[in-house]
């Protein structure tokens, strides 16, 4: 909107910019803090001002210690997190795109019911499912394995809903009919015609499940009991507990801060790089 040409609007825009500046500071403060904190050694962390650098620049030393502590278990957690999040996100994206396409462009018995149930499924609070899922999985000895985290993370009714909306808006039926005239198989039509058209929503769904699994705490906390299987969220909190119980004598707070920084950098980069895609995908779902 180019209304800002009228003179009365100018000061308002400036005021809005000032408010945005304050907002940016608010949202950035914890992130600035974590960057600064991870350059500090344990004594500096306690003695120097929180939002300014300490005496030394210890980020390299912290990183080295981070990946060495407990026989390099942090690296393990990092890999676990990437595997859990990556596999879950890929799987959920595949399931949601297939189901979204099936619901948007086919009629089959039970479809209407499934579509109205979808809204209900979105409303089911996720954490209410975690405890019974844990009990069920413990019957078949799947708890304390990576599958206990990955399989429940594949459930994403919201993403299916998003994909369905996107397909019905952006994949013309005539195109599918033309492909069928050419005697293309249904799976081939999906892969070669539909997938390229719905790529924005697939990226969105991928990123959102990636973040949800990367950030998940409750599910792995319940499912896993072995430190080697932990993702970063659970691992870091156990370190934090130790650091606090022993007042920073054995395990050090600087490992918790540096570990937190390393844990959030990959996702922030992913989001910045894929900005164009996820914004496009989001707008389709929120309109409905």
């Amino acid at each position: 909107m180019s209304v800002s040409t009228t003179s009365s609007v100018r000061p308002r825009t400036r005021l809005a910019h000032v408010i945005m500046g304050v907002g940016m500071l608010y949202f950035a403060v914890p992130l600035i803090w974590i960057v600064i904190a991870s350059t500090k050694s344990q004594p500096d962390l306690l003695s120097s001002p929180a939002l300014w650098f300490g005496h030394g620049f210890d980020l390299p030393a912290n990183l080295k210690q981070l990946f060495r502590e407990d026989d390099g278990v942090y690296g393990r957690w990092l890999i676990n997190t990437a595997v859990y999040a990556g596999v879950s996100a890929l799987g959920a994206t595949a399931l949601c795109s297939l189901a979204g396409y099936g619901l948007a462009r086919f009629t089959f018995p039970g479809k209407r019911f499934l579509e109205s149930a979808l809204l209900g499924m979105i409303m089911v609070p996720g954490t209410a499912l975690v405890l019974p899922t844990y009990l069920l999985l413990s019957h078949i000895h799947l708890v304390n394995t990576m599958w206990a985290v990955i399989l429940p993370s594949l459930l994403s009714p919201f993403c299916t809903y998003l994909a369905r909306v996107y397909v019905s808006e952006s994949v013309p039926t005539e195109l599918l009919e033309a492909a069928r005239m050419d005697r293309a198989g249904e799976l081939r039509i999906f892969l070669q015609v539909v997938v390229p058209m719905i790529r924005p929503v697939m990226v969105t769904v991928f990123l959102f499940t990636l973040v949800a699994t990367w950030n998940n705490y409750f599910l792995p906390l319940v499912m896993l009991s072995e430190s080697k299987l932990y993702p970063l969220t659970v691992g870091l909190t156990t370190w934090f507990n130790t650091a606090q119980q022993e007042a920073g004598t054995r395990l050090l707070f600087n490992l918790v801060t540096t570990g937190s920084l390393v844990a959030i950098v990959p996702l922030i980069i992913a989001f910045l790089m894929l900005q164009r895609f996820w914004r496009g995908g989001l707008s389709s779902g929120s309109l409905k």
Partner: protein, 319 residues
């Protein structure tokens, strides 16, 4: 609604589609194949829904209707557990706390997100774009790490904020106790989710056709008038959807209090209903009671939000 009901319903379907009367046998077998293809596309998702949504819910329901005791083993006790849960002072305290929290925090957060989204929609400058990016960044930060960072920032040993109280001679502030505790938690949640909601609402605004408010611009309406009288009503659906997801999230409040509990001894096992359900299962080993607790909570949330969606949709359809 799985595959075994296919044949009978299919026949019905074929009858209901007599639109092309000259459809030969080949036509209806095409229909049948299409129908099977569609069902197959949905099948993998359906399997996951059955295994990880329907089955756990059913099992939780079963557990909540039974009691486990040494003397009798597992036996059916009907709604006894639920009566117990809703009478349990710890559960009620937690539920009431979460409701109070939501009544204050949700409108503040969504209000901020809406104002920010409207500002972003009206102003397209470099500062606005940078703001959009930075406000959204907390979404990519795990809630656990967000809560840890704020925990450090609030703490007297690590953080800069506890000393703020000295400015008006109040001594150092205790963010982990008294009235400030809920506010501290609210700040963590607001920090983490405002940007996300802002982006959702902003995307909805961007999807509006420009012609919608061109007339108002010509009539000399100010950007604020346009925002309030044209844009906000137009994205009402997106706003109420964001509100619902926020309410669902708030009722399940777990991560932030679980992390801040390490700083704040006031956060006990029953601080929120979800913390209570977790403690019941893993600290006291009473899975049946835990299932009843989380089922009672889930049911409350589900019924409320579903009713809300149903009502707002009906109203939207009528309007």
């Amino acid at each position: 609604m799985s595959v075994n009901v296919l044949p009978s319903r299919q026949a019905a379907n074929a009858e209901m589609l007599p639109a092309q009367p000259r459809r030969t046998r080949r036509g209806s077998s095409f229909q049948a194949r299409q129908s099977i293809a569609g069902a197959l596309f949905v099948l993998p998702f359906l399997v996951i829904v059955i295994l990880f949504l329907a089955l756990p819910l059913g099992y939780a329901l079963w557990l909540s209707l039974h009691s486990e005791s040494l003397a009798f083993g597992s036996r059916f006790t009907g709604l006894d557990q639920y009566v117990h849960v809703f009478k349990d002072p710890e559960f009620r305290d937690g539920l009431w706390r979460v409701i109070r929290f939501g009544i204050v925090q949700i409108p503040i957060m969504l209000g901020l997100a809406l104002v920010a989204a409207l500002a972003l929609d009206a102003i397209d400058s470099r500062i606005a774009r940078l703001f959009r990016l930075i406000a959204f960044m907390p979404y990519a930060v795990p809630v656990v790490i967000g809560a840890l960072m704020w925990g450090f920032l609030y703490s007297k040993t690590f953080g800069p904020f506890a000393g703020v109280g000295h400015l008006w001679g109040a001594g150092s502030l205790n963010f982990f106790g008294g009235h400030l505790l809920l506010i501290s938690l609210g700040n963590v949640v607001t920090w983490a989710w405002t940007g996300y909601n802002m982006i959702v609402l902003y995307s909805a605004l961007q999807g509006l056709p420009r012609e919608m408010y061109e007339a108002a611009v010509v009539d000399g309406a100010s950007p604020i008038q346009i925002a309030w009288h044209v844009k906000v009503p137009a994205i009402r659906q997106a706003i109420s959807l964001a509100a619902i997801f926020t309410v669902i999230g708030t009722m399940q409040f777990f991560n932030e209090p679980a992390i801040l509990a390490r700083f704040a001894p006031d956060i006990d096992a029953g601080y929120t209903p979800n913390l209570y359900a977790y403690a019941q299962a893993f600290r006291f080993g009473s899975f049946n009671y835990s299932a009843a607790t989380s089922f009672a909570l889930g049911l409350t949330v589900f019924v409320l939000s579903y009713a809300y969606v149903f009502l707002t949709r009906r109203r939207a359809a009528r309007a």
